[in-house]
Symmetry: C2
Subunit: 99 residues, 2 copies
């Protein structure tokens, strides 16, 4: 039973961790981020950094590994989202400054 | 030190769990899902269901609670993404059938 529980946990960790890979690839390829919530990725990235800190403080290697991978992927998505928000706001600011 | 580690873990869990709320609200309000990866939400929702099963099997209440909330939010996002993919594909099929 313990093996089954561990197996389910490992499978779940792999799925939730690696799920951010197709999202990061999609955003990198299309640069389309308007459907993506900035608030979500700001909160999520901060939360994953917190999980990584928790793993490092408690010496839990699986927590460290899973969250280190997720932190890289979530940071890529967050970075590209911030970039697109800044790019959208810039022309507006210029137009207002010119008006 | 244990209190600090627990505190960091609880804060991290709250951030990663609740981060899906603004994303679910954004998708419900705008119905814009083209920037969202279907593969990500399919993998992520399956993974969170796995975490919930892991929590139930091992009797870990925090794991059960956090993943039950995330499962609801991720399922809403996945459901709306599937709905938009089906709607995009339908007119194409009709056009091809009519041609």
């Amino acid at each position: 039973m313990t093996h089954l529980i561990d197996g389910v946990g490992i499978l779940a960790a792999m799925l939730t961790t690696l799920s951010f890979l197709p999202q990061a690839i999609l955003v990198l390829r299309t640069r389309k981020t308007d459907g993506i919530s900035l608030t979500m990725y700001a909160m999520f990235t901060a939360g994953v950094a917190g999980w990584l800190a928790y793993g490092l403080m408690s010496g839990a290697l699986p927590v460290i590994l899973a969250n280190a991978v997720t932190l890289v992927l979530a940071s890529i998505i967050l970075g590209l989202k911030i970039q697109s928000v800044v790019q959208i706001r810039k022309p507006g600011l210029t137009a207002r400054a010119a008006a």
